[in-house]
């Protein structure tokens, strides 16, 4: 029962949080998501929190953890749909979620993920080309 479903969509994982979060649920999500990134070799994680009315320091930390951990696993994380009251409250609480990509809605979040992944791929190619240019 203590599980939030994770949907696989191509190279992405999609999570829509529709219930009130509590600590155990957030911890399970963190664990499940990181495992899913590995299992599906996902390149991006999209978390929709538009139905979440409360994000406190614990849940905020979990969101930050998920972003950091997926980064290490070579996947990008985008959090979408944060309610304005939640954003204001998070900043006043002292947790500005630095280092987490955000977008206004799922559509924009998907675009951002695509863009991030393309940028990374181009960067890799660019680096490889630079190596080729080394004088002999």
């Amino acid at each position: 029962m203590d599980r939030i479903p994770i949907l696989k969509m191509g190279h992405f994982l999609l999570v829509t949080i529709q219930v009130d979060m509590y600590d155990r649920l957030a911890l399970n999500l963190e664990n499940d998501l990181i495992n899913a990134v590995q299992a599906h070799e996902s390149k991006g994680v999209l978390i929709d929190i538009s139905a979440v009315s409360i994000v406190d320091s614990f849940m905020g930390r979990i969101i930050g953890n998920i972003a950091t951990m997926s980064k290490i696993m070579d996947a990008q994380t985008v959090v979408v749909g944060m309610q304005p009251a939640v954003a204001i409250t998070l900043v006043e609480l002292g947790l500005p979620l630095a280092g987490v990509y955000t977008a206004l809605n799922v559509e924009k979040g998907m675009e951002l993920l695509q863009q991030k992944i393309t940028e990374e791929a181009e960067f890799d190619i660019g680096e490889a080309e630079e190596d080729d240019d080394q004088p002999e």
Partner: protein, 136 residues
Amino acid sequence: MMISLNKETLKIVSEQDVVLFRQRLKEYASKIGMSLLNQTKLITASSELVRNILVYARQGEVIIEVVTDRLQTGVRVTFKDQGPGIADIPKAMQDGFSTNKSLGLGLPGAKRLVNYFDIQSTPGNGTTVTIIRWKR
């Protein structure tokens, strides 16, 4: 002079109690017509404080009250536990201080989110935190 209009006490023993408590608190806050932003701040602050009960004291109780001082109406929440107490309150109120590997934002963050914040603690005898968020 502050008058208490409506009062309810809830036992906090598990994370499920926290979910129920947040729902009850939201009912009280929306019943007096508190703005969505202030509701979010109140519930987020309460979420931090009720977590402290579970983490440090394992159990305790919360009292939700609608209060008025003739000029304004708001919600007062009292968090009581018989846990280990806090040895150094000024230090516990600092951003980033934690004895539990957390972010250390709970107490100082909660204080920033409400209009009134009071903490009483005796080591070995437990902690009582009282907060008030006015309607506007």
